[in-house]
Amino acid sequence: MEASKVIHAIYTDDDILMSAVKKVKAERYHIEEIYTPFPVHGLDKAMGLAPTRIAITAFLYGLVGLTVAIVMMNFIMIEDWPQNIGGKPSFSYIENMPAFVPIMFELTVFFAAHLMVITFYLRSRMWPFKNAENPDPRTTDDHFLMEISVDGNEAELESLLKETGAVEVNLIDKAH
């Protein structure tokens, strides 16, 4: 592994951060990561991140939930033991469907919501007892941190970042 060095530029204002991101992108540097204490509207667009596909997964999970509900109730109520319960027609699924709709709805929502959240946790690598990846504890409070990898161009990058309004620019050796 080659020794990887990164620059941490620290900002104290999200507007300055946004303009800095645009400048750094315009100079064609690769931003590794940005740490912020709260969502900064438009940051993903400025960084050029791909849009999330989590809504699509949620839709598919919802379809799975709907299918589970239908198959389950069709088996239990219609195929396995079609009892006469209070005169409800248990001859076919469609005849008794209105009574199943609340469950179909709830299971759709249940699957869509929970599986989407679990997908989110997996994709963002979040779980209990996970070690925090926070480079600087101040970024959870009131500072913004931009991490840029360097290969021999520390000096010019440092001056560029100072120009963009960074309050602190630190060269960090990530090798250890």
């Binding site: 809504a55 005169g87 209105p98």
Partner: protein
């Protein structure tokens, strides 16, 4: 300022003329003598091969409360006469009902937008002020539209032969204990007075909201804005009571033996989503003609979200009403759905597809909500679906299984569509298309989602 293009004006006149001709044709062909009806029934039963029994089944389900119908229709000659009389009445009802459904459908678009407009003002929404003038134009239809609905309702009981509301018929009431019990509410003078009170309240709000909105354009301070905020809040309280009562009066009382507690909300959901859909269609139309350069796709996205959300809200109420009645299956309530299920299977189930399945699939994707032709496509399906919704509310009680979407129905739609376009677009020419002095205008112009 908007100028009403001559093309559109001519188009609306053509619609009105075609509509009047078709409605006239509907009324002329609906008067059949008892003999004609009898031959017709005989021919039909010959066609269906003893389909007379099925003819008679609807008589048990409908709520007309006329002379008793026999269960076995092959009975005595008197039963044949009674049945023919019943069918004759249904045939005569059809042009009235067609006119009434279409009149109500277009009136409820205006009324739905009036409520939507008041909500936007009362909630001080920051995204919608650029659309206020379009909404104000649509609400111009409330006064004429609602008066026409009320006039048709009253005329059906005075000029017509009780073609919409059987509780207006003293002969029916004389034999009907249930309607007698409801006479305190369901009587013609009180019905008309109530209707006028509703219409007066809605039109007064519309008048003053429009007045303050135009006054705010040139005002130095925000006093007009504050006034419009206050009357919007007051109107919304008035509206939710009167809308509910209006739906009992103008729709639910066509089935005077039946009642449902969430009916007012159900009708409200229908009018709200149709209104918002028309707002979206008009915005897209005016934008395509370069009249609304301050409206961007973010506004369209928000309107489409409302279309999506209220389609689901409508479905929720439709299903809640249907499922509760289906589940408990109490005879006096369930006839309402039995007559719809037996005779109106396609429109009854088709509207659920059009009002729920289509919007939920077409408008779920955020990108699709920003594409005008996609919203137009979804909007047309929603509007047709909600026309059929009103159709399903009125027709089973008045024409029973004698329904068809033919000349009287389509002509009535054309007539009121033409009238709607004429009134709404004329109102649109009366004021600038942007609310200049409205305090939230800037926020709305810069609105970005």
């Amino acid at each position: 300022m908007y100028t009403f293009s001559n093309k559109l004006k001519t188009f609306s006149f053509i619609l009105i003329i075609l509509g009047v001709l078709g409605v006239g044709y509907g009324f002329m062909t609906s008067h059949k003598s008892l003999e004609e009806v009898k031959t017709m029934i005989a021919e039909e039963s010959a066609h269906h091969g003893g389909g007379h029994a099925s003819e008679a089944t609807h008589a048990t389900a409908d709520s007309h409360g006329e002379a008793a119908h026999s269960e076995n229709a092959h009975g005595a000659e008197a039963d044949h006469d009674a049945h023919a009389l019943h069918v004759q009445h249904q045939i005569a009802n059809r042009p009235w009902s067609a006119l009434y459904v279409a009149a109500f459908f277009f009136m409820m678009i205006g009324l739905g937008i009036l409520a939507f407009y008041a909500i936007q003002i009362a909630s001080q929404a920051g995204w919608s002020p650029v659309l206020f003038r379009v909404m104000e134009a649509i609400t111009a239809y409330v006064l004429p539209g609602a008066l026409i609905v009320l006039a048709i309702a009253v005329a059906s009981g005075t000029i017509g032969h009780y073609n919409l509301f059987i509780w207006m018929d003293p002969e029916v009431v004389a034999e009907d204990k249930l309607i007698q019990g409801k006479q305190g509410w369901l009587n013609l003078p009180w019905f008309a007075i109530r209707g006028l009170i509703f219409i007066a309240g809605w039109s007064l709000y519309r008048h003053f909201a429009r007045k303050f909105s135009i006054a705010q354009d040139t005002a130095e301070d925000t006093s007009n804005f504050k006034k419009s905020f206050r009357i919007a809040a007051a109107f919304l309280v008035f509206f939710i009571y009167t809308e509910s009562m209006m739906s009992w009066d103008w729709i639910m009382s066509v089935d005077p033996h039946w009642f449902s507690t969430l009916f007012g909300w159900y009708v409200f959901a229908s009018m709200f989503v149709s209104g918002i859909t028309v707002l979206a269609l008009m915005t897209i139309y005016l934008k395509s003609k370069n009249y609304l350069e301050f409206v961007n796709e973010n506004h369209l996205h928000d309107v489409a979200k409302f279309m999506f959300a209220f389609s689901i809200f409508w479905t929720y109420l439709w299903f809640s009403q249907f499922m509760l009645i289906w589940y408990s299956n109490i005879p006096e309530e369930v006839t309402y759905f039995i007559s719809r299920f037996n005779d109106y299977k396609l429109p009854f189930l088709g509207m659920v597809v059009m009002n729920f399945v289509f919007p939920i699939l077409l408008l779920m994707n955020a990108d699709y909500k920003r594409i005008p032709w996609f919203v137009v496509m979804a909007g047309i399906v929603i509007l047709v679906g909600h026309y059929i919704d009103i159709f399903n509310m009125i027709m089973p009680a008045t024409v029973g299984d004698r329904w068809f979407i033919g000349i009287p129905e389509i002509a009535s739609i054309l007539l009121f569509a033409g009238l709607f376009i004429l009134i709404v677009f004329t109102a649109l020419t009366k004021a600038p298309l942007l609310v200049k002095g409205y305090p939230l205008r800037k926020e709305s112009e810069d609105f970005h989602y």
